[in-house]
Symmetry: C2
Subunit: 189 residues, 2 copies
Amino acid sequence: MNMDTKSLLIDTSTILFQQKGYKSVGLNEILKACNVTKGALYHHFPNGKEELLITCLHSLNEVIITDIEAIFSRHLSTKEATISMIDTLIHQFEKDGTITGYTFSSIVSEMATMSEPVRNACGALYENIQNIYCKKLQADGFSNESATSIALFMTASIEGAMMLCLTQKSADPLKTIASLLPNLLNSLQ
Amino acid sequence: MNMDTKSLLIDTSTILFQQKGYKSVGLNEILKACNVTKGALYHHFPNGKEELLITCLHSLNEVIITDIEAIFSRHLSTKEATISMIDTLIHQFEKDGTITGYTFSSIVSEMATMSEPVRNACGALYENIQNIYCKKLQADGFSNESATSIALFMTASIEGAMMLCLTQKSADPLKTIASLLPNLLNSLQ
DNA sequence: CCTAACATACCAACTGGTCTGTTTCTATTA
DNA sequence: TAATAGAAACAGACCAGTTGGTATGTTAGG
């Protein structure tokens, strides 16, 4: 089984979907970007575009979890790990103008109310991210309950900050979040 | 000058754009929802769909600012006002399953990198929201600088929480944010 | 030789947008 | 006040381009 074409399709369209959303990206655009024909696409994804998107979300899930987990195991406290993670986001944003590989807000807001499978895939992704935060917070000494709350708070504020970065064409919102989050962690410990 | 048709178009498509994003909403869908013809639409919006969207964003701006300002003038402290505001969002979400009139994340994430005019309109909207928070925080005694930071933090976490609500089909994320924000405000005062 | 992995022509449905009417309102003038 | 001119407010047919998807091929590898 030759996975190269399939992987190429997934990797390319993951980026495109993240940058532009679902409807904005046409099959022809994906095909051209991959230099692949429609026959090949429908061979690997018989159910078409939405199946491709969901596969992309699963793939993205693995990438994000791996990356964040690596950062979080590299640092002692949640505080340090979070700052390091946001730093990574900031650098990518300042380099590329977008954040691929960490966010999928375009897909959430566009598809959550339209397709249950897509909504579930997105939900699982957020859940996994929150779980990493949550475990580290518990290791920091937080109670089960407050760790869950804070993890959600972190996920939300980082996701929201990325939206603000997009509209402002500046990484400042993420920087502000990074500087405030430690205070929040201290105040609740 | 008869504004009824134009207003109807703006109000209807504002909701549709908020719920589904920009590309997902077709002109025909808007036209059918309004019971208006293409001729009428292009009479009021000669530059077509994008002009309609930007007009919707401006209209949304006024609505949001008016609503939030009303809530914030009704309460003494930022803490109380914020909780009251989030309560409004929670109630709407639990009633309708969506939050129209307060968020436009679908448009931001989809269009911010595609159209400068749209990005600017979205940026202005976030800026206005933050300004309301900021002023109230200053009235609470926060310094200019920290008021700005906290206002951004509030905007981001609320916006992010709404995304989480969408994926979870539950208002819990917003509730969590509402219960944590007061702690943050206390810890920084 | 059979199946996986393509390639390509084709399709109906729909997209945003234009063009040419027609109606309705309104201001002006005889 | 009635007639009329002109503009605003539509209505609806039409269009080229694109959409996601299919059907029927061909090619290459085990």
